[in-house]
Amino acid sequence: MTKVEYWVKMPFGPIHPGLEEPEKFILTLDGERIVDVDVKLGYNLRGIQWIAFRRNYIQIMYLAERMCGICSFSHNHTYTRAVEEAGGIEVPERAEYIRVIIGELERIHSHLLNLGVLAHDIGYDTLLHLTWLAREKVMDTLEAIAGNRVNYSMVTIGGVRRDIDGKKRRIILDMIKYYREVFPGIEDAFLHDPTIEARFRDTAIISKRVAMEQGAVGPTGRGSGIRDDARWSERLGVYPDLGIKPVMPQDVTGERPRGDVFDRMAVRIGELWGSLELIENALDAMPDGKIKTFPKDNILVAKLKLLVDGEGIGRYEAPRGELVHYVRGKKGSDKPLRWKPREPTFPNLFAVAEGVKGDQVADFVVAVASIDPCLSCTDRVAVVQDGKKKILTEKDLLRESIRKTREINSNIKGDPTPVGSSCSR
């Protein structure tokens, strides 16, 4: 007698309350069991690489920063590293320390955000609010240092833009003190709560073999037992002097890594402590000196035109894992001939799509959240539309939104059209 399989294909996304950003998974289900997962990317495609063909080195810094809000520093930083490698530009030591500090602050806020999202995905909203309340402190700190909650614009090619002076230093030390009080509670809630344990243990197991095959990076890779951290294996900047080492799940849970959601979460909790330590060490060890090689952007543009000749690779451990940027430039050109970023979510997404097979539908959203997907980073490539449909341009959208605003509230005064002629829309 042959067994008949009643398999159902179900779209998960592009718009789904469990996904923070539009991305589509096609699940093949046998009841509640997931048989197969197919990933379809591209719902957030903005054509950043295509746009980059038309931008110079400085402009791409802003473009890179705006690929994604959460890891804006990482993208900017890694791109900058790639250009510095291609151009052979040295960075002052103080700037390296400031980069470490901002990078680790970003890691803290990103990891806290992800912990909250994980809790929310199992309906545990109290923990969501607990972590996101704690996250406000680091966001405030970042705002005090960089002037913005996201898109800090701290890094520039050959240094950083803003210094960390005595006042900002005190704000950071305040924040560290606050987190030393708050983190034990968060750690306890996540590592010892029975609901968390029931939902996250042995869920979406990515074995070391699958992680290796699919090139999983960051907390996803480390959760599966791959001992790699780009900050450490790249001996990046001053990180080796600050005592960086990869955080493995056994450092946090005391058990050997199983590659499940719990381990990935445990790695993040370990990294929260690691980041605090790195920031403290960096604040202590930070030497005096200048913060950028080229004092003005116009000098930088001119220098880059001469200096960058060849290819450069930037590698950095973003909160989600290893981030790689590639830049190829030519002497005499003020813009790179090719720039390609590769985000940690890209391989992790395929790794988790493998890992979640055989689990239940209920596990899927947790599994996707456990790699901390940053889908707007992943969809970065060209977006151009064919002539078949009517495509709304930015101008149309602006006009439509003005019309809608007027419709809702006709009392609004003032002209919402953008002022200035710097950018001919």
Binding site: V8, M10, H16, P17, G18, G31, E32, A119, H120, D121, I122, G123, Y124, D125, T126, L127, H129, L130, L133, T195, I196, A198, R199, Q360, V361, A362, D363, F364, V365
Partner: protein, 332 residues
């Protein structure tokens, strides 16, 4: 003959309508109180207390979208579910003997209570949405897992209380004649405590909060059973859910905390019933505070397999032990 019509038809109908109006209002207000309390526990401000009421009124006036894949049952189910909930009110102990209390009406109570879930499932699978179908499958699974423990417990209690001497055995009115704490032996006291645990977990799984927020899991299956409902159908289902929470909690309150205050105030007739109803409502709110608000603030949801395991291996077994303990000295 005319007296009979008034006594057996008009009074119950008016009473039921009054009860319906009160319970729907009270249950919606409770939902608002619950949201506010949970928000406070999570250090949020939370919505206004009357927000569910506003939601209900607004949803009733909103456009109702019916998917092209839906069939007739999709539109019929919300009305049927609400009608069932209203009919159920006539058999619900709300501080006094239910309006239509009769011999063996506990069967009707259980039947109508599960019928609400059945209509929700029917509506969901008629919508043609795969998420709704997963939600319906989950609801069905959890329904067959949670009800046996409750049924075993309630029959054991009713049977044991019947032995103390009542007019109408197996009626919801029994709880206001004798209560479970009156049996008196230490064994039965332990049994009653165990059954209290069983009924609290059952209540949580009946109103689907905390561990058991599985069929409607928003993050997993986008609202599950309710995914395709909108406008007035959604309003009806929301009201049904709120009333079902009130009714289920009423059962637990009637079994374990049936005491009224009208006796102390020397009230009789209608005023006694009103006072008892208000006091009962307070008790329901207090119970729901622990079972719903606190429970959903300190837990997340389980997987369906874990929930079924828990309901059978833990709650059903506890129900078995509790039932045996309170029935013991009569059997032996």
């Amino acid at each position: 003959m005319a007296m009979d019509v008034v006594g057996e038809l008009v009074y119950p109908t008016v009473g039921l309508l009054g009860l319906y109006a009160f319970v729907s209002l009270a249950s919606l207000v409770w939902e608002g109180v619950d949201r506010k309390l949970v928000a406070r526990m999570q250090r949020r401000i939370g919505p206004p207390i009357l927000q569910p009421l506003y939601d209900f009124l607004k949803l009733s006036s909103k456009e109702t979208i019916i998917p092209s894949t839906a069939n007739f049952m999709f539109t019929a189910a919300p009305g049927l579910a609400l009608a069932t909930a209203i009919a159920l009110l006539a058999y619900t102990p709300v501080g006094f003997t239910p309006i239509l209390a009769s011999k063996g009406d506990v069967m009707v109570f259980i039947y109508l209570l599960t019928l609400i879930g059945f209509f929700k499932i029917l509506g969901a699978i008629s919508s043609g949405n795969p998420y709704a179908k997963i939600g319906a499958a989950r609801e069905a699974t959890i329904m067959v897992s949670r009800e046996p423990a409750m049924m075993l417990g309630i029959f054991a209690i009713m049977w044991r209380l019947g032995k103390l001497g009542v007019d109408k055995p197996f009626s919801m009115g029994v709880f206001y004649v004798h209560n479970i704490w009156e049996i008196g032996t230490p064994m039965s006291f332990v049994g009653a405590v165990i059954l209290l645990y069983v009924f609290t977990v059952w209540l949580a799984s009946e109103i689907e909060v905390g561990f058991f927020n599985i069929p409607d899991a928003e993050e997993e299956i986008a609202g599950g059973l309710l995914v395709e409902y909108s406008g007035r159908y959604l309003a009806l289902l929301k009201l049904t859910n709120a009333m079902k929470a009130f009714i289920s909690a009423s059962l637990v309150v009637a079994i374990f905390f049936p005491w009224g205050i009208s006796g102390y105030l020397n009230l009789t007739g209608l005023s006694a019933n009103v006072v008892d109803l208000l006091f009962h409502t307070l008790k329901v709110f207090a119970l729901l505070f622990f079972v719903e608000s606190v429970f959903r603030a300190v837990t997340g949801r389980l997987k369906i397999t874990q929930a079924v395991d828990f309901l059978w291996k833990n709650v059903f077994l506890a129900s078995l032990v509790g039932s045996l303990l309170i029935a013991m000295e009569v059997i032996m």
